[in-house]
């Protein structure tokens, strides 16, 4: 263990420079986020993830956000275990009818102000599962969505860009209100 730890010191961090926030995502967000809600939030955002029936591909890339290369927490973004602790719900999946009630309840349990980020192609419109008796065809069919992050699955970098766009938007408006 000592050798491994020592090497980590010598080689320096693997963590990469922060990506630029996604312009399109930023624009979408600016329209939707309620201005009054921002004043209550500082920089840190707590994220609760809900898999509403994804193939688990999106989850793999969300997990990757926690690895040494992306290190999500350095941006003040962290995943929390309860919706009651969350500012943001990330949702993946087409979503399935079987998950509708659970998603609605999770949304209801999240305190205001809150944002919903739909991650992946399925979450936008059902993706390749659209048209089945078992799916609803987009997260917005169940809860209001503030931001879509496309991709099948989106790379960790795309997810990070989308989440950063969310953060930037919150902060910009936060400052505007304070002034």
């Amino acid at each position: 263990m000592r050798k491994t730890l020592l090497e980590s010191f010598i080689h320096g961090p693997l963590t990469e420079a922060a990506p630029e926030p996604d312009e399109a995502a930023l624009a979408e967000l600016a329209l939707r986020v309620n201005r009054a809600a921002h004043a209550r939030l500082g920089r840190s955002l707590a994220i609760r993830h809900v898999d509403a029936g994804s193939c688990n591909g999106c989850e793999l890339e969300m997990h990757a956000l926690g690895n040494a290369f992306y290190d999500l927490e350095r941006f003040g973004l962290r995943f929390v275990a309860s919706p009651r602790h969350a500012d943001v719900l990330t949702v993946t999946g087409p979503p399935t009818r079987n998950m509708r009630q659970a998603l609605e309840r999770t949304y209801a349990a999240t305190p205001d102000p809150k944002w919903v980020v739909a991650i992946g192609g399925c979450a936008a419109d059902g993706g390749c599962f659209a048209g089945s008796y078992a799916v609803l065809g987009g997260v917005s069919q169940v809860v209001p969505v503030d931001l879509h992050i496309p991709g099948c699955p989106p790379s960790p970098l795309s997810i990070l860009k989308g989440l950063l766009a969310l953060l930037e938007s919150v902060n910009v408006k936060d400052r505007a209100i304070r002034r």
Partner: protein, 499 residues
């Protein structure tokens, strides 16, 4: 056909490849169940069709056969009453097709959680009735309490419901209720083009996208009787081993993290990320989705791709042994994994559990080896097997498989044949069976094609079908706090199971 000896057959279906499909009556069906009960064959799959039920058997010689029972009045003789691994597949058949397993004691729905607008969506669909509350199995005794967990879990995890009955910290019974990620994959397969079918197959369980791609492609190729070009076969194996490496790194790290040893998660996370980046460099997609299609693969290894893979293999060979040593010599970690979540060899054999769940408890099955499929028949590798059946054994199987995958990648890169990537399948009718060894175990795909090249019926069976029930066995008498550890060591797929 030793497997079918002693099973009365009415007729053998024509155009079912590469193994036979036989239509049987009551006597033949019962003889097959006898074979399962005696242990002469294992249940490889059990799925519904229009007015019929199919059962895939595999024996110790890795011979495979599909038996078909044509239902009368929408009924078929229950397999699950005598052979428990068939219970959940049978309940799924009843919920999806409306076919009744005659004599079955457990009539509760499976996958259908009462939220669909119609019942029996793959059979004679009808408006859904008012859902009844799901009756969990009882556990009675003094001081017992229930812990309902899920479908939404704490963490970035797929959804499913776990109903624990515990006495203090000790788990008396775990019952799973799955189906939350049911997307209707087999419904969408009906009438789909092969392109659409391949895309669906690759999204049955995202972590096994290559394995599903291969199993689906092999089923189609068997049905239309073509072989993919040699270069494609080797590239498929290359992708499959990269997928296995990435998942095993993820699992080893995540298991240790659930035993509060986060350093392994951090270090294994680095190895995993490097593999995914190499995959991206080679094939333009980190998970390599949609690269495998019927007839071959769609992309060649890009410029610098082989170099990127060789770098990752070299880096892993340098770093991984140190992590293995760390795992082996950290007493606090061993204290959590050794002797936790034991599944004994007998249930593993009965359920024919594949992957590390089976191989950690004495079942040496790996479908790359037997029955085998190209190019693995030309490559040298071992199938590691242990007996203990605990979390520790499931970790060690993964560790040994990482080593085997690295050796396989060396061989694949050294022998990668030149030539075309794709022989597009011609439109033809036929039935085919295909399988592939995903990182968590064997994936089975059965397909029936129509003459216009579209899919008539496609069934995909994840290894998880025969692993999830064993998780209920593994947790018995363990403490609630060890459930995440047991669950991670199984890492069964929700999406692959729920379809």
């Amino acid at each position: 056909m030793a497997l079918l000896d002693g099973i009365a057959i009415r007729n053998v279906a024509s155009g079912h490849r590469p193994w036979p499909r036989a239509v049987v009556g009551d006597d033949g069906w019962q003889a097959a169940i006898d074979r399962l009960v005696e242990g002469g064959a294992a249940l490889f799959g059990l799925w519904g069709d229009t007015g019929a039920v199919h059962m895939a058997l595999i024996d110790a010689g890795a011979e495979i056969a599909v038996l078909t029972y044509e239902c009368r009045d929408g009924r078929f003789p229950s397999v699950g009453t005598r052979h428990p691994p068939a219970i959940r597949p049978e309940r799924a058949i009843a919920s999806l097709f409306g076919l009744t397993p005659a004599g079955a004691s457990d009539r509760r729905p499976w996958l259908d959680l009462g939220f669909w607008e119609e019942r029996h969506p793959l059979g004679a669909a009808a408006p859904a009735p008012e859902p009844e509350p799901y009756a969990f199995l009882p556990a009675e005794g003094e001081g017992l309490h229930q812990l309902p967990v899920g479908p939404v879990h704490a963490g970035i995890i797929e959804p499913g419901h776990f109903r624990f009955t515990a006495n203090g910290e000790r788990v008396v019974r775990l019952e799973q209720q799955l189906g939350y990620t049911h997307k209707g994959v087999e419904f969408l397969m009906r009438g789909a083009t092969l392109d659409k079918g391949a895309r669906l197959a690759c999204r049955t369980s995202g972590d096994s996208t290559i394995a599903y791609g291969i199993a689906f492609a092999q089923a189609v190729e068997a049905a239309v009787n073509i072989s993919p070009p040699p270069r494609a076969v080797y590239l498929r194996a290359l992708m499959a081993e990269l997928e296995r490496l990435a998942n095993h790194f993820g699992d080893i790290g995540a298991i240790c993290n659930d035993a509060s040893f986060s350093m392994m998660l951090a270090q294994c996370g680095i190895l995993r990320e490097r593999v995914l980046r190499a995959a991206d460099a080679c094939f333009g997609h980190r998970l390599m989705m949609d690269m495998v299609v019927p007839g071959g693969v769609v992309r060649d290894i890009g410029d610098g791709g082989a170099g990127a893979i060789a770098d990752v293999v070299g880096e892993t060979r340098r770093l991984f042994p140190r992590l293995v040593e760390l795992y082996d010599k950290t007493a606090s970690l061993q204290d959590r994994t050794v002797g936790t979540g034991i599944v004994k060899p007998e249930p593993v054999r009965q359920f024919a559990a594949g992957g590390y769940v089976g191989r950690a408890a004495g079942r040496a099955f790996d479908c790359r080896k037997t029955p085998g499929y190209p190019p693995y028949d030309a490559l040298t590798f071992d199938v590691p097997v242990l007996e203990a059946g605990d979390v520790n054994a499931r970790v060690w199987i993964r560790i040994r498989e990482v080593e085997q995958s690295l050796a396989l990648i060396d061989q694949i890169l050294a022998r990668l044949p030149a030539g075309p990537l794709l022989v597009p399948p011609v439109a033809a009718d036929g039935e085919g069976i295909g399988f592939a060894e995903a990182f968590r175990g064997d994936v089975l795909v059965w397909i029936r094609l129509r003459g216009d090249g579209r899919i008539d019926r496609c069934h995909l069976r994840d290894a998880s079908w025969f692993q999830w029930p064993l998780l209920e066995v593994a947790i018995e008498d363990n403490i609630v706090a060890d459930f995440p550890l047991c669950n991670k060591s199984f890492n069964a797929s929700y999406s692959g199971h729920d379809l």
